[in-house]
Amino acid sequence: MKNKLNIKASSEDNLRDLVGTGGEFPVPDGYFEGFNERLRARLQVQRELARPRSKSFQLIFAITSAAAAVTLAFFLFKSVNQPPASKDSNKWVVNDYTEESYITYLVYTTAEQNLFQPDSAFDSLSNNDHRLTHERAQSKENLDPEEVIEYLFYNNGNVYTIMDWK
């Protein structure tokens, strides 16, 4: 044990004798002289960051956050309730479920003679369209319960709603 410790001491001394403790890591001129000033500046920044914000700032922040949350919720709700868009991009899709939209659509898309015969406007509809049309909904005859359910499903129960019009 004693020998081992001697070897250790000897080894350390050898290294010191052989290499010494020279060599320097250069420090920029004036580094230590300006250190306190730089540290003070950093501490000032730290204090600014840690300082609690004023009440007016907190109020504005809270109002802005609430407004943003309401807006986001509105758009999310709207997009969730929106029916899926038609896969065929050529189809004219009415996204606004109002009667006015439907009338506007008729004015712009129906031939002039048909405007005076409103029922004929529905003639252009494909007979294969499985959805319940306005005309068929009004007829009260031959209503297939499945069609009614499907209609209500796609139109949220609004009789005048048009959502996918060819």
Partner: protein
């Protein structure tokens, strides 16, 4: 040695009206020593500067929590050591590099006179030291360059004196082998 001065610093720091002066005295007393030990670990001046400033900021923020269970000197060194080791670890993680690659990067800096000035053998010694694992390198630097006793290092690192002696001996052996 530093105990009287440390006590004076602490008493100044404890009183609100002398707190700033006490902190200034603490910075003046320790900045060069801390810089030296940190610089030997991270090699780059800019990194050492950032770490030493971080150390003093941590001291400023936590001085009220200092319970004097160890000396001020030990406590300050411990913070500096932890910050240096954390820096090296985060650098390794950030760059996804194993220890050897970081060492290789630091070794390149030793050849640059901007980062190290010394003769060929001193340069070679620095490169050999950089090949040691971080903690072993730390123990070697503290003992070889800073002249700290094993007892002081033990208190700072929370490692037994025996383990430190073994670590230091192993480090010297590795370095001698590299220098041969």
């Amino acid at each position: 040695m530093a105990n009287d001065k440390d006590q004076k610093i602490l008493s100044l720091l404890r009183r609100p009206e002398t707190r700033n002066y006490g902190f200034q005295l603490l910075v003046d007393t320790y900045k060069e020593r801390l810089y030296s030990i940190v610089r030997r670990m991270v090699i780059r001046h800019d990194d050492a500067d950032d770490i030493v400033q971080d150390v003093f900021i941590r001291i400023w923020e936590n001085i009220d929590g200092f319970r004097e269970e160890s000396s001020l000197y030990t406590w300050i060194y411990r913070i500096a050591i932890n910050e240096s080791l954390r820096f090296l670890k985060s650098k390794r993680l950030r760059l996804f590099l194993p220890m050897l690659d970081i060492s290789a990067q630091l070794e390149k800096l030793i050849d640059d006179p901007q980062h190290f000035s010394g003769n060929q053998i001193e340069r070679k010694l620095q490169k050999a030291i950089l090949k040691l694992p971080d903690k072993q390198r730390l123990v070697f630097n503290m003992r070889y360059y800073e002249g700290l006793t094993y007892e002081e290092i033990s208190e700072m690192l929370g490692t037994s004196v025996g383990a430190l002696k073994a670590s230091y001996h192993l480090a010297v052996k590795k370095i001698e082998k590299y220098l041969d």
